[in-house]
């Protein structure tokens, strides 16, 4: 035997200490847990945060345990030491304070820990916050890349004011005082002259909950404009017509079957929290079904990947519906109790017996034509595969987690019916509000009421809520340039905030035309953490903080549970912990980067310095009457008064609620799924209640108490009988769903009464890119321009060198058969022509896309007009020329190049290409019902022409306006279809809801 081995074996035989295995077997390893038998630790010391941490969390700084620790223990967050990674292998210790905050890249609001160096107060890095109930310490690439955004040498550090013409690129630095004085005076004048509707606030990524309701209501404005109709209007409408609430909250982790019409293992909302739970479910045996035309990373991990023709998802889903109905494999009791089938029968079949059996017979009849063969013919997916998927859904045991958000619902005319068809599966399987099923977002979200919420404004803004779209979800933000061109109004003061419509929206050249027209757009203020194409056309560029530079509260429906989390300016918090006073956050941030909460408070005092306009009162301290509210007081009051359980949890730790949130960054309000529709109506409300004999609806005369949770809900002020508060089910009065019937509305009287009776039940609307509208022989394709990349987030990640190093191109995906037909190879230039122009891009030939369809990620193609302006990591220098009225031509002048800056990495840039900006060439396509911009395009693809160069873009804004008019003609205006003389069904969700009087249509 090998001598060494022999000696070794002898020593093993004579060991005098217990081995790791023996320690574990003896159960004596609570302090020294074995690698083999280690179990997850639990932060049970934190009331309300039942967060199980990965095993390595118990390891400390190297004295007791070693190895690659996952998370520093919370008790050491104020005094954390670790070696300087850049000094390795020298062991040089650095001292940090670990301050929790929230990522500000996508909407998920995942927890971050900022490592603030105690000596230099610089932020060393960001890692995950293990106490955050949504992200549980895990982050995607964008979380740690926040560090790049903070230290980006190209960022805007001081308030800038435009000189010269708008868009000319000449800026002077101004003080915050100058900005506030100028804006305060301008807004005061507008409000005094009752020109409230000329002030518009347009937001891309809010990042906060509840803030702008407080600000805009205080100013008396109905001026909120969001990015929703380039994002989620389609899905929202589909969900809301069913259940009143407009967003799903799947409990992926406990599901038996997960059906995604999205790519949530890699991108989208809420990718990181969802992905980790989808994987948990998969490891627990759940089946994953993915509908995605493109072979996404998510599709590659699915048990079933279905690649349908874009817009054909509804017939697939309805074929599954048909299968469940015809095989009788649906939750009969749930459907009988919670679907408004009586309403349907009485309205559509008044002469037939109003029994559930009649309804079942009608259901069979209604959906009998949605066969697997029909779905296969529409979608191109094999009928047998659809049948197998239907069988999987049938076996879900009431645990079906489903999700769609952008994807097809945002791509297609009638996409909202896809969400409606998807939710139908949850209804039939009874997978609603149960463990492993899908809930409504509002059930899992908590937006605390601030101390002084102003009343709803008595105004209606036609520029954002035009009467042509009475059912839209929500503002028709993409149409603003066309409304202004048509003379529907003017904008005196336009705030854009973390929003880049010139780049992000379709038809960006029309935006540019309007933004440069000072007659139409009086003053443009861009509140932004980074340069953008839109900021270039502003009058003021006001630097606002990234994730570790601002306060916000955020609560997202990431899983079966409910939590609230706190974004904090980590350097400010660190300074305060060190005993230094900080009056305003910009004192602690780089340059004079500020945060919106303080900015709005200050601006409100400048608008109404003496309180005579009734605005200032909302911005006074609840603790020191008459004094200006501070940012600490704003959050302190909510944490003390309107977050259930937080004061008690804080007291248990000897902390104030604000101290608790500063320390841990998050609080779990509820763990597990909750179904409010099953909750009994409070006895107090039933004291003066009336039950409708026919509908079993329950009305109460008892006034509604102010809810501490101001998450938007549908509204039911009721009639002379009082408020609608619930529905009688058997001998109980339950809250029911947030719909006029308090039931799940399979049959939507709202759609029927507001001009769309043909779509009152879940169905299928042919997309504007349906195959019958595409001629492949003419080189026509359906273009999917919406998909995201895991490492980028719209235009906000342009200031992250790590992320751009990973992803910086957006080639056109094309199937090999199509490529062969066109004679195109990978990297060949192709010209993609839309209804209003074209772009020139490189092809990527791949079997990851179905024939007849091309796809291009929207994340790329940033551009800048001057060499030394904007993010040079991520933008090409371009020539933009006007070649006759409305005829715009853009050509790349210079690719990305290494450049000198305070960051030595800028000299190491090795990539040159940054992709092509396709959105400029898309006209607006607002769905006539949901208002969703239907992103997919019918395009013509051909080999590039001799004069074409990579990145070329041509757009005709005259044609863009014509296309707008064509889609506008598809609408059914409130003034024509409104059943009660109002602009919109009052019950329907509407953010920033005005008073009921404001809903009245103007008399013509």
């Amino acid at each position: 035997m090998n001598k060494r081995l022999n000696r070794f074996l002898e020593a093993v035989a004579n060991l005098s200490s217990p081995t790791r295995l023996e320690l574990a077997q003896a159960g004596a390893a609570s302090q020294q847990q074995s690698a083999v038998h280690r179990k997850a630790a639990n932060f049970s010391a934190l009331p309300g945060t039942q967060v199980s941490l990965p095993s390595a969390s118990e390891r400390t700084d190297g004295d007791e345990q070693v190895g690659l620790s996952s998370y520093p223990p919370v008790e050491k967050w104020d005094e954390w030491e670790e070696y300087d990674p850049k000094a390795w292998p020298e062991r040089i210790k650095r001292r940090y304070m670990l301050i929790p905050t929230l990522c500000f890249n996508c909407e998920s609001a995942c927890g971050l820990l900022g490592y603030v160096d105690k000596d230099s107060l610089e932020i060393q890095k960001f890692e995950g916050n293990p106490l955050h109930p949504g992200s549980r310490g895990r982050n995607c690439a964008k979380g740690p890349a926040t560090h790049n955004q903070v230290y980006d040498p190209e960022r805007v550090l001081f308030p800038l004011k435009r000189v010269g013409k708008r868009g000319e690129g000449k800026w002077v630095r101004v003080t915050w005082d100058q900005v506030l004085d100028d804006l305060g005076a301008r807004l005061r004048k507008a409000f005094q002259e009752q020109r409230h509707n000329e002030v518009i606030y347009h937001v891309g990524r809010p990042g906060h909950d509840g803030l702008m309701e407080w600000i805009l209501f205080a100013w008396g404005l109905d001026s909120h404009n969001s990015h929703t109709n380039v994002c989620s209007s389609g899905a929202r409408a589909g969900y809301a017509f069913w259940m009143g609430l407009d967003r799903p909250s799947p409990d992926h982790a406990k599901a038996r079957v997960i059906l995604l019409i999205s790519s949530h293992l890699e991108t989208g909302h809420y990718f990181n929290p969802h992905a980790q739970r989808i994987m948990e479910a998969k490891m627990d045996g759940a089946r994953l079904i993915v509908l995605d035309t493109r072979l996404s990373n998510t599709a590659s991990l699915a048990d079933y990947w279905l690649s349908p023709w874009p817009g054909s998802e509804a017939p697939i889903l309805l074929a599954i519906v048909n299968y469940l109905i015809h095989t009788g494999r649906y939750n009969r009791e749930f459907v009988k109790t919670w679907v408004n089938w009586k309403q349907y029968l009485k309205a559509e079949w008044p002469t037939e017996p109003c029994t559930f059996e009649t309804f079942e017979a009608k259901l069979k009849e209604l959906y009998k034509d949605y066969t697997f063969d029909f779905a296969a013919a529409e979608s191109g997916v094999e009928a047998e595969v659809i049948r197998q998927v239907a069988e999987e859904v049938a076996r879900c045991e009431g645990k079906l987690a489903t999700h769609t958000w952008r994807s097809t619902t945002a791509g297609n005319l009638g996409g909202w019916q896809v969400a409606r068809a998807l939710w139908f599966l949850n209804v039939l399987t009874g997978s609603i509000g149960v463990e492993g099923g899908t809930s409504a977002n509002a059930w899992d979200k908590w937006v605390p009421r601030p101390h002084n919420l102003p009343p709803h404004p008595n105004r209606w803004n036609e520029l954002t809520w035009p009467e042509e779209y009475p059912l839209t979800f929500y503002e028709l933000s993409i149409l603003l340039p066309h409304f202004l061109k048509e003379g529907r109004g003017k904008v005196d003061t336009y705030f854009t905030r973390v929003y880049n419509p010139v780049w992000t929206n379709p038809d960006g050249m029309s935006w540019m035309e309007v933004l440069t027209d000072e007659e139409k757009m009086g003053l443009h203020i861009c509140l932004t953490p980074t340069w953008s194409e839109t900021a270039w056309f502003a009058d003021y560029v006001l630097p606002m903080g990234h994730a570790p530079e601002r306060h916000d509260i955020s609560s997202q429906e990431t899983h079966g549970g409910r939590w609230i989390a706190f974004r904090q300016p980590v350097r400010r918090v660190a300074l305060e912990k060190l005993g230094k006073d900080v009056n305003y956050t910009y004192e602690a941030n780089p340059g004079e980067v500020w945060e919106e909460t303080e900015f709005w408070i200050e601006l409100s005092w400048r608008i109404d310095p003496d309180g005579s306009m009734g605005i200032r009162q909302y911005f006074e301290s609840p603790y020191q009457p008459g004094e200006k509210l501070t940012v600490n007081e704003y959050f302190r009051w909510m944490f003390e008064n309107t977050v259930p359980g937080l004061p008690e949890a804080s007291a248990d730790q000897g902390l104030t609620p604000l101290e608790y949130m500063r320390k841990y960054g998050a609080f779990e309000i509820r763990s597990g799924v909750e179904a409010p529709y099953l909750q009994p109506v409070e006895a107090e409300l039933l004291k003066q209640a009336t039950v409708d004999a026919d509908s079993h609806l329950v009305y109460s005369q008892t006034p509604a108490p102010a809810s501490p949770n101001i998450t938007p809900h549908p509204a039911f002020p009721g009639d002379e009988r009082g408020r609608l508060v619930g529905i009688q089910v058997g001998d109980q009065v339950l809250r029911g769903f947030d719909t006029p019937s308090r039931l799940l509305e399979f049959y939507s009287p709202t759609l029927r009464d507001w001009g769309w009776p043909e779509y009152a039940i879940p169905g299928y609307i042919h997309s504007h890119v349906h195959p019958e509208k595409i001629d492949p022989q003419a080189g026509e394709f359906a273009l999917i321009p919406t998909f995201r990349l895991p490492t980028l987030i719209h235009t906000r990640s342009g200031n992250s060198k790590w992320l751009y190093e990973i992803s910086h191109k957006n080639p056109l995906w094309m199937h090999p058969k199509d490529a062969a037909r066109l004679g195109v190879r990978t990297n060949d230039l192709v010209r993609v022509s839309t209804e209003i122009g074209y772009y020139v891009i490189k092809a990527w030939v791949t079997e990851g896309i179905r024939p007849g369809v091309v796809a291009c990620s929207h994340h790329m193609g940033r551009w800048r007009l001057q060499d030394n302006a904007m993010e040079r990591w991520s933008s090409a220098l371009v020539d933009l020329t006007l070649q006759g009225e409305g005829h715009w031509k853009m050509r790349h002048k210079q690719a990305v190049m290494p450049f000198e800056s305070s960051d030595p990495d800028s000299k190491r840039i090795w990539w040159s290409d940054v992709g092509v900006h396709q959105n400029l060439t898309f006209p607006v396509h607002p769905d006539p019902i949901s208002g969703m911009h239907c992103w997919h395009q019918k395009v013509k693809v051909e080999k590039a022409q001799p004069e074409d160069r990579y990145g070329d873009i041509y757009v005709d804004t005259n044609k863009a306006h014509e296309v707008y008019r064509e889609w506008l003609a598809m609408t059914r205006s409130a003034s024509r279809v409104s059943p009660d003389g109002t602009r919109r069904p009052y019950w329907l969700l509407r953010p920033f809801r005005p008073t009921r009087d404001a809903y009245q249509l103007p008399e013509k």
């Binding site: 000696r7 093993v12 035989a13 217990p18 081995t19 790791r20 074995s34 083999v36 992803s807 990297n827």
Partner: protein, 323 residues
């Protein structure tokens, strides 16, 4: 005694060394000398080395060496799982691993099976561990590991071969199991988005005519085909010897880039020669192991044959490059 030793080794391979391991380790000749006196430093160094070796460079999983895909959780893994199931064996609760054919787990399983006299022990040793673990452990040597892991590898190799019965594989039988071919993920070869069309194009008209780059990569990067596990360090060393620019990336990216750079600087023949030399060194290493452990002869032959094929393959590529 042997089962106890297998358990210890299984644990040491499975995860970083923990503080509770130190009292035992200090009593084990061969391993004790490899630890520095400062306990905290020693453990930190070992944890860093563990990640470098097994996190970044050398996956300690059977399927990487045996499966035609060289991927984790491949059919070769299922074969190991089936063996565990048939023996009624399961990994201990709480163990972290990416796939059940981790060398640490296979050693723990072997220990348990030997202890309880399970029928599965000989198949696990003969059809699995003896086939791939020696190649894994010899590859580790090329990564210039920390002395602790170098000693652990020597001892583990010795213990596996010591436990191997005489003539485990009948003469003339290839010990490699029959497994499904690697799935074709990429279809017709195309450069990934963002990559210039340099690979095939750059090599065409230069050295590799008639062979797609995919075939080259598949042969050289799949141990079952190549006869060795080509590490990133092997490739870096080859590039360094030719004074080519440094390359950072995964194995596939590194090999592609080194090939491209060698073509660009007209050093392809020299690069192939470097790889041939590496194969020849491994043939010698397998022969040395066979000499000291005759029971391993059939395995040595199987791996050596693959290395000979690789040498032939490289010489053909070289001829094409010269043409």
């Amino acid at each position: 005694m042997i089962t106890h030793a297998l358990q210890l080794m299984g644990n040491y391979w499975l995860e970083e060394i923990q503080p509770e391991d130190l009292p035992v380790l200090k009593q084990l000749p061969g391993l004790a000398e490899a630890l520095s006196d400062d306990q905290a430093d020693a453990l930190t160094d070992l944890a860093v080395e563990y990640q470098r070796l097994f996190g970044f460079n050398l996956p300690p999983y059977e399927s990487v060496f045996i499966d035609p895909s060289a991927m984790l959780n491949a059919p070769a893994t299922a074969r190991v799982e089936r063996l565990y199931q048939q023996a009624g064996w399961a990994p201990p609760a709480g163990v972290r691993y990416a796939a059940p054919d981790h060398i640490g787990l296979e050693l723990l399983a072997l220990a348990d099976m030997l202890q309880t006299d399970m029928l599965a022990a000989p198949p696990l040793l003969i059809n699995h561990l003896a086939l791939w673990a020696p190649i894994f452990l010899l590859t580790l040597e090329r990564l210039d590991p920390h002395p602790f892991y170098a000693r652990l590898a020597e001892l583990t190799l010795a213990l596996i071969l010591e436990t191997l019965p005489d003539n485990p594989i009948p003469s003339g039988i290839d010990p490699f199991p029959s497994l499904p071919p690697a799935p074709v993920y990429r279809g017709t070869y195309q450069p990934a988005p963002g990559q210039p069309e340099l690979e095939v194009e750059a090599l065409k008209g230069q050295p590799i005519q008639g062979d797609s780059l995919r075939q080259v990569l598949d042969h050289l990067l799949i141990p079952r085909a190549a006869g060795l596990y080509l590490t990133r360090q092997d490739l870096a060393a080859a590039a360094l010897a030719l004074e080519l620019p440094g390359v950072v990336g995964d194995r596939e990216h590194t090999l592609k880039t080194v090939l491209q750079l060698a073509a660009q600087y007209e050093l392809l023949s020299e690069l192939f020669e470097q790889l041939v030399n590496l194969c020849q060194r491994e043939i010698s290493a397998y022969a040395d192991l066979e000499r000291d452990n005759p029971a391993w002869a059939a395995y040595a032959k199987a791996w050596q044959q693959r290395l000979e094929n690789t040498i032939q393959f490289l010489r053909q590529l070289d001829l094409q490059a010269m043409a």
